[in-house]
């Protein structure tokens, strides 16, 4: 099922209330041909279950890992992906765009 931004933040609240560790990732800046607009959300739980997206699937894996770290240490962080980053090809923003993502635990 295609999830809307409504479903995503509602899920974040429901998951947290159910006692799961939860983090919210938000696209805060894009350059070039980024696939998802600023403000897009990805919600992740401590087991790596997720809903929504911050890219066309290119960097979700790295964001999910970072989100699980944020759940573990309780601290928000900003992460950047792009062609200038040597991991870009590995995690794959091959479209040439760059994005910055804010990742925060729900506490």
């Amino acid at each position: 099922m295609l999830s809307t931004e409504t479903d995503i933040l509602s899920a974040a609240e429901a998951w947290r209330r159910a006692g799961r560790g939860v983090a919210v990732a938000t696209v805060i800046e894009t350059w070039g041909s980024a696939p998802r607009p600023v403000g897009s959300h990805l919600v992740v739980d401590a087991d790596g279950n997720f809903l929504g997206s911050v890219s066309g699937g290119c960097v979700e894996g790295a964001v999910i890992t970072e989100a699980m770290d944020a759940i573990a240490d309780g601290r928000p962080r900003v992460i950047a992906f792009g062609v200038a980053d040597e991991t870009a090809w590995r995690v794959g923003l091959s479209c040439g765009g760059r994005i910055r993502v804010y990742v925060e635990p729900v506490t």
Partner: protein
């Protein structure tokens, strides 16, 4: 993000009120400003502009990097007339994440068989709106497709009064001229009446019902996403 902030954002969305989440990217402090609180907020002007554009984004205030998440209510499409075009339009609009409702008092048209999975209200618009269908607001699009003034006109009047971001009506230029005269006689200003997209839909030469549905949806997306289309503010 604290759970109570997340809950407040979800509650505002459920109540169909806009809100802006302000995040200080240095340290993670957050607060929510509800639509009604924007005017009195120290950052009011900036927040009002953000809300008008509907776009989330970065801002710098007194040297601090902020991110503003603009949360507008989900967009609803109310289709008046359970007609052939509506059968094509409803699932296409659902695919665009619009919350679709079809209203038509003619029970021969408004059948679940013709509209599988679509919210269908077999009532007159005056009766349905504010009853089985939540009242219209600025985050609603209304498409009047029956060709019947007895059904279309009350819905169009309600849409104009509610300042819906999109109001469209099916019918030829001649039909529309008669409609303009009726709405004028009912007290609507020429400016208000001019907000009705008629004949409905972008001019793409659409002929079949699905093609007309594409033309209508293109016009709705333009009204939602482009300044000249009249972003809801």
């Amino acid at each position: 993000m604290q759970l109570d902030i997340l809950a407040l954002l979800n509650a505002e969305r459920a109540a169909r009120r806009a809100a802006i989440l302000i995040t200080d990217l240095d340290g993670g402090d957050q607060r929510v400003v509800r639509e009604a609180e924007i005017a009195a907020d120290p950052l009011g002007d900036m927040l009002a502009q953000r809300l008008a554009s509907g776009r989330s984004g970065l801002a710098e205030v007194e040297g601090r990097p902020l991110f503003l998440t603009v949360q507008a209510p989900p967009v609803r499409l109310v289709i008046v007339g359970a007609v052939h075009i509506s059968q094509a339009l409803s699932p296409m609009a659902s695919a665009l994440d619009l919350a679709v409702t079809v209203i038509d008092p003619r029970t021969a048209f408004a059948t679940p068989e013709r509209f599988p999975g679509i919210s269908l209200v077999p009532e007159w618009p005056d009766e349905a709106l504010g009853g089985a269908v939540p009242v219209l607001d600025r985050y609603c699009a209304v498409a009047a497709l029956t060709h019947d003034p007895k059904i279309d006109d009350p819905a169009l009047a309600a849409a104009l009064r509610a300042e819906c971001f999109y109001v469209g009506a099916l019918g030829s230029r001649k039909t529309h001229a008669a409609r303009v005269a009726r709405l004028g006689a009912a007290g609507f200003s020429p400016e208000a009446i001019a907000r009705i997209a008629a004949p409905i839909g972008l001019d793409i030469g659409a002929i079949s019902p699905p093609e007309i549905a594409v033309a209508i949806l293109g016009q709705i997306v333009a009204a939602l996403r482009t300044p000249r289309g009249g972003t809801p503010a």
